[in-house]
Symmetry: C2
Subunit: 202 residues, 2 copies
DNA sequence: GGAAAGTTGGACTCCGCAGTCCAGCTTACA
DNA sequence: TGTAAGCTGGACTGCGGAGTCCAACTTTCC
């Protein structure tokens, strides 16, 4: 094993986080720590060496996951044609929900509202809110450039996000799986972008 | 008390259901039965007389609640101007989320996916799915009448629903409360309707 | 007044899980 | 080779909640 004498084994930290992601997504926050330990090929005690409590583990997991889900939203797509930029944005949103149990993970975050509100809130800020803000910024720039007319860019961004993600998200959160392959995702994102542009044309 | 000899007391059934709605919304599905009993001024045993288990109670609650939340969507608003009809539809969706802990209730339904999937699924079918289908039907009729052009009415309905509800729903589910008075609801619904019509104009 | 069914509250069983403890083991460095 | 730290696994404590049981009380009908 690539670990140093008496030093915490970072590869185990990874394994624990991965196992937690799988188990907690599938079984919800109430899944027992023991199962996470088993999945990570690690003893329960080791988990408590790395993360002081279940809450801390969930917190760390949320932080990592929200980064994965919003990765790609940072790239400056302003160079693209607005329609393509919007479609790309929509694709990323949907992929975040589809890939790697994204929806199940979101459900887990919601579940934790009653028991650990700060975690859920942080997730919201770093995830949905940040992504909408990012889109709003883009819309504002496009408006200034005269290619679009969004008097209220944040509202427009929320509308667009809702269009793209809305129906799939609600269904998935309620446990109704719709197969959504890349082709369909592409179609939805493109169509939403097209309609959105019509709605907000100059 | 208005109850018959040895017959189950229907007014208690009501009280239990109301108490369950409050407690389960506030504290999540994991809230103890004892608390529901206390809130309903009823003994725990009585709850088990009326509903055989916690799952059955939650089920009954979901069934009642979904009716409350979708009430008003049945009225034939086709007579209205499309923009007003859409705005009205949007208002009802938002009110369902805002009034009486609607969002918290939705969260509860989602939370119960892992432990009682059938309940969540039934909720989805009777709630979000039915309402979108209803709207799609309206859009199809308007398209046939030449006042709108929605080649894919169901997709359009989902887009509209997402626009109206999307941002508020995600935030609320993650425990971030935005004050949303009737005036704001009205504004959002109207604006969404207006934009939607532009996107789907003939 | 008695029978039938419901209600009460409180005690009680059973279960599952978070988190702790410990004894024995492994690893790496000095 | 000693020692300092981490890891293992399994036993253990403590807690909280679902669902049951029961003896005493209430209500209505016959």
């Amino acid at each position: 094993m690539g670990r140093v004498a008496g030093q915490i084994d970072l590869s185990k930290t990874e394994a624990i986080l991965n196992a937690a992601a799988e188990v907690l997504s599938a079984r919800g926050v109430s899944a027992p720590m023991e199962e996470i330990a088993r999945r990570a090929n690690v003893s329960k005690q080791t988990i408590y060496n790395h993360y002081g409590s279940k809450a801390e583990l969930v917190q760390a997991l949320c932080e990592r996951r929200v980064q994965e889900m919003t990765a790609g939203l940072e790239s400056p797509e302003a160079a693209l044609h607005p329609e393509e930029a919007l479609a790309s944005f929509g694709r990323i949103l949907l992929l975040g929900l589809t890939q790697m149990n994204g929806a199940a993970f979101l459900r887990m975050a919601m579940t934790s509202v009653t028991v650990m509100p700060e975690v859920a809130r942080a997730f919201f800020e770093a995830g949905p809110r940040a992504s909408r803000a990012r889109l709003a910024e883009f819309l504002r720039a496009e408006t200034l450039a005269g290619r679009l007319f969004c008097p209220d860019p944040l509202e427009a961004a929320e509308f667009f996000g809702g269009m793209v993600v809305g129906s799939y998200q609600t269904a998935a959160l309620l446990g109704v799986e719709r197969a959504l392959d890349e082709a369909k995702i592409d179609r939805i994102a493109k169509e939403a972008a097209r309609r959105f542009l019509r709605a907000y044309a100059t």
